[in-house]
Structures are given as C-alpha cells and as structure tokens.
C-alpha cells in the first residue's frame, strides 16, 4: 500500500515536471524543472532498490549535467526569444501525432509483453559480494570491464571535444 | 566566461573598495578588464576656488579637507608655500616640529593604506591592527592640536602652539611600539604566499612609463625611480635628517607595497632623529600682523604620503586673499595611472590596484 502511494506520487511528479520542462517558456525555469524531475527519478530508483544509482543520478545529473545546462543558458543570455522565428515548413501537430503514436506503440508493447507469462527472475552469475553497491561494482569490474573502459574513453573524448569546441583559440 | 560579448561593469561610486566615491567603468571580457574608465568628481567641493575668496590664514583650514587622512602634511605644504612667497624665515624648532608631524602623518596615512589595501585583498585582520596603531598617532595629534582628523595645525611662519610638555617623550614611546607593529604587519603579509600571488606581477609599470604618466610618491619609487621631494628639494628640516629613499625594482603592486613598508621604518627613523634633536627656541618667525604677500607667483612641492603635493599660488599683492590657488594633488595624478595599470588584469586586481595607488578621493576631487 505504502509502496503504491509512493509510486503514484513519484510518477505523477515525474510526469508533471517533465511536461513543465518541455512546455515552459523561460529556459531557466525549464532547467529547474529538469532538476526536480531528476530528483524524483532518483526517488523512484530508491523505490526500486537501487540506492547507488539514485545517488549517482543526483550526483551526475543534478549536480553535474544540469549545472552545465544552467551555465549555458546563462551564457546564452537570450536577447530575443528563440521561438520567435518560426519555420513555415514546420509541422507542430505532426510532432504531437508522432509522439502520440510512440506512446501508443510503447504502451501496447509493454502491456502485451506482460500479458504473457511473467518473466522469471534470472539471477546473474553467483557473486561473492552482497549489497547493491558492491554488486554493481563486482559486475562492472568483471563481466562488464571492457564496456566500462570504453565508457571512460568516451568520457575522455567528450571532455577533450568539449574543450576544443568551447575554447575560442587553442 | 562571457565569450560572446563584453560586459560593462560599473564599479562605484558606491562600492566597498573604491575608497570613497571613485567610479570605475570597467569593460570586461569574462573577468578580464579590457578597458577601465575612471570617473571622478563626486567629492568636488571647489576648494581651489573657495580659497581665492578666503584670507591667507583661513585657507589652512580648507587644506585639511583635501587629503583628510594626512591633513598635517597639507597644512605644512601650504604654509611653506606662503612663507616662500613672503620670504619668511621659519625658526628651527618649528621646522623640526613640522618634520615630526609630517612623518607621524605619513605613518598614520600608511597605516590606513596598509589596512585598506590588505582588506581589499581579503586580509581583514591587518586592517584592524593598522587602525589600532593609527589611533595612537591620532592621540598624539589630539594632544598637540586638539583635533584628531582635520588638524588646522600650522600657521604661516611657524606653529600655533608649542608642543605640550612631555609630548616628545610620548612620540618616542610610540616609535618603540610602532617598530614591533610594522614587523607584525609584515609577518601577516610580506611572505604570505597568497599575498605574493595576488600582488606580484600585478599592474607592472616601468620607471619611464611611470614618469610619463606623472606618477609620484611610492608608485613612482616602486618602479625604481628614486624621486623623493624630501631628498631632492628638502623642505622643513629634512636637510638635517638621515634617511634612505626606498625604491622598488619590478614596479608591480608588491614593490609598491614593499616601498611603503620601508617608508614606515624610514619615517620612524626621521621622527626619532627630529624628536631627539629638537632645538629650543621660538616657534613663530617674524610674521606681519596682516598677511599680504607681495605680488608674484610661486610653486612649492612637498612629499605627502601619497606623492608630490604641490601648491601653486599667485598673489596680486593688493588683496588679503590669493589671486589664484592651485594644488597639484598626488592622488589625482596617481589615479591617472589606473587605466594603464589595470588593462589585461582581472576584476579582483582592479581592487588591488586602486589600493596600491593609495588614492584619497577628497584630494582627487578637491
């Protein structure tokens, strides 16, 4: 019962703030709603028993990525509203329709998938460690070591790329 | 940070570290200063024009209000100019007392400078330490002339009053205290890494460039030009005193700081010599009842704590007030260097540079 209340509350907040993110006129407010949205997503992770990921979500998304967004919004100190110029060939309604189609499709798949016999838990290879954090660490440094290294390379490349892009003269 | 456009930042006239009502319009690229426009005049009281309508003795009171943290120096400068105009011989005792007062005033002014300069760079404790010692000097002045800030402590031809009994002993006691206190300031600042990083290489100006800009006093000596009116054109009793003129080498904020710190010590040295060798005798020379200098003009400069303080006075020989009264204020001339100094530095350095020029807005605007 408590779990259901928590879920519905968090879900409503997530969706509500997400709608505000894409609908607010002021970009700074939009960024703020995005932060709130991420905080509630982190709460959802806690509900799902992934505390480590919840902390990472706040640390990386709220503490890092969105600060970057805020920074850029403040730098791009918009003198004229970016929506003022509109492309006559743009079809806004089509966008809504396509998005609706995506929703119907994904929802249908989800409901169909779970009308089938329920998925059975597939425990991964036996791990010598317990606890959410330790398990993730174990998986990252054994089965998923190579993806992990590639991810770190990706971050390095992105870092260099961002510096090259943002710097006026090298 | 603002890569795309320049930001115009209006610093002052209400700003904690513009030392009064200086206004600096900064054009910034990120935090880097592209250009600085110095706007003055917020404290203009027309002292020069006012003086042309006062009699010669009343002007002394007005000169107090120019560099109000070094009022005695202003008095001395003005009185000596008029004495030069009237060819009055000042007795030796008066000359010695003037020297003592000038140097005490220099120490007081430098105390204020080291305090506010350090405060601008973030070291707040030095400010209170320096004010503690400045208070002692103000006490000495109070005992001498009754006022603590605007002294009106000179008269044309000499002194208004002789020094109070025992005053010279108190001055010597103060010198003993001050010696240790200067070391205290230096302990907090001179070898502090953050202080060094904040002041070394900031606002570098070469000797010739400083001369070209008309800088004087410590900002000029910090660039390695050994110009000191006390040595070059001695006035009061400086020709009988032993002292060195400290000069810097690099011409940056740190060297200007070192020059002033050394000036503390040299001033104390002069105060000691003058107090110990204080001659007996009259305190006022032969001054006519009505002061009315003969027609003519004269320029006389003294070394105020800020730099070369010059008075240019024209007398028409008929009226009891000057025909033309003009001051060359060191702060005003030194402030002209700010624009050159702060180009290419950061906002934080502008604050340090204003502090290192040691301007008093009362003197800049007059």
């Amino acid at each position: 019962m408590a779990q259901a209340i928590a879920f519905y509350f968090i879900a409503a907040c997530i969706l509500g703030f997400a709608v505000l993110v894409v609908s607010t006129k002021d970009t700074v407010h939009s960024v703020l709603f995005l932060v709130l949205d991420f905080l509630f997503v982190a709460a959802l992770y806690v509900l799902l028993g992934a505390e480590f990921l919840a902390a990472i979500q706040i640390l990386v998304y709220a503490g890092g990525i969105v600060v970057l967004y805020l920074f850029v919004v403040m730098l791009v100190n918009l003198k004229r509203p970016p929506e003022a110029h509109s492309d006559p060939h743009r079809r806004t309604m089509l966008g809504f329709l396509l998005a609706g189609a995506v929703l119907v499709e994904v929802g249908a798949i989800a409901i169909y998938g779970f009308s089938q016999p329920a998925m059975v838990p597939v425990p991964g290879a036996a791990m010598p460690v317990t606890g959410n954090t330790a398990q993730i660490g174990w998986l990252l440094y054994t089965s998923y070591l190579i993806p992990f290294e590639i991810a770190s390379m990706l971050l390095l490349v992105a870092m260099i790329g961002a510096i090259v892009l943002a710097k006026r003269e090298l | 940070m603002f890569d795309t456009n320049e930001l115009v930042l209006n610093m002052g006239p209400q700003h904690p570290s513009t030392h009064g009502v200086l206004r600096v319009i900064l054009r910034l690229d990120g935090e880097k200063v592209v250009d600085a426009d110095v706007v003055i005049g917020y404290l203009h009281r027309g002292i020069e024009k006012l003086s042309e309508n006062r009699n010669w003795t009343q002007i002394i009171l007005l000169t107090d209000r120019m560099d109000y943290v070094a009022a005695a120096t202003n008095n001395v400068g003005y009185c000596e100019t008029v004495e030069k105009l009237m060819s009055i011989e000042v007795p030796r005792r008066a000359k010695y007392v003037r020297t003592i007062l000038c140097e005490l005033q220099r120490i007081a002014s430098h105390c204020l400078w080291v305090g506010t300069h350090a405060m601008d760079i973030g070291a707040m404790t030095v400010f209170l330490y320096a004010f503690r010692e400045r208070e002692l000097i103000l006490d000495l002045f109070e005992e001498f002339c009754g006022a603590r800030l605007t002294y009106n402590s000179m008269r044309i031809g000499g002194l208004p009053l002789d020094i109070p009994p025992g005053w010279d002993k108190k001055v010597l006691e103060f010198c003993a205290i001050m010696d240790a206190k200067i070391d205290e300031y230096e302990e907090l600042l001179t070898h502090n890494r953050i202080w060094l990083e904040r002041t070394k290489g900031i606002g570098v100006i070469s000797g010739p460039a400083a001369v070209a800009l008309g800088l004087s006093g410590p900002p000029l000596r910090g660039s390695g030009v050994p110009r000191d009116v006390r040595k070059d054109e001695p006035y009061a009793a400086y020709d009988e005193m032993q002292f060195d003129v400290p000069v810097g080498t690099a011409g940056d904020t740190y060297d200007r700081y070192l020059v002033r710190m050394e000036e503390f010590r040299q001033s104390l040295r002069i105060v000691r010599q003058a107090t110990e060798g204080l001659p007996e005798g009259p305190i006022v020379g032969k001054v006519p009842r009505l002061i009315k200098p003969p027609a003519g003009e004269t320029y006389h400069a003294i070394e105020s704590p800020k730099g070369e303080l010059g008075y240019f006075i024209v007398s028409d020989g008929k009226s009891t007030n000057p025909y033309r009264f003009r001051v060359r204020p060191p702060s005003f001339c030194n402030l002209q260097g700010l624009r050159t100094l702060c180009k290419g530095h950061l906002v934080a350095d502008v604050v340090a540079l204003i502090g290192s020029l040691d301007v008093v807005l009362g003197e800049v605007d007059r």
Binding site: A11, L15, T27, L68, L98 | -
Partner: protein, 101 residues
Amino acid sequence: MPITTTHYILLSAALFTIGVVGVMVRRNIIIIFMSIELILNAVNINLIAFSQQLQNGIGQVFAIFVIAVAAAEAAVGLGIILAFYRNKETVNIDEMNVMRS
C-alpha cells in the same frame, strides 16, 4: 493492487513520449537537449525496473553506462551550442540550417 514492472514501464513510456514531444515541438535547442535527457531517463527507469524484476544488477550496470553517455553527450552538445551561438547569436534550431558558419 501491487506495483509491478508494468507500471514502471508505462511510466517510462509516458516520460519517453514527453521527451519525444519536446524534441519534435520545441525550437530552442537547449530545451531539445533537455528533452533528450528525459528520454534517457525513461530508458534508465526501464533498465532498473527490469533489473529488479530479474533480480540481478545487470540493468543497473547498463543504467550507469547510459548516465556516462548522457554526461558525454551533454558536454559535447553544449559545447556545440556555445560554438554555434558565438557565430550566429541564436539557439533556434530552425535557423541552424547551414553546416558552415
């Protein structure tokens, strides 16, 4: 009614759709980037819901990779926005129709 994985997946689908709407309808490129972050979060919710359903941590590991990719994407993307803004003084995606500047 107990909360099952289906609930999470429906939530994720809805969040995903909101993100898609943002990408398709808004013209401010910064908002579009934020919508993409929403989409990535929808994916993460799915991954973690499956992770809980399957009782192993693999979904969470993938979610970490997604977050890493999102961070990289944000850094480079915002760098591009800044570079673009410097040349064209706009963040309107409709005006971003030339590759040269």
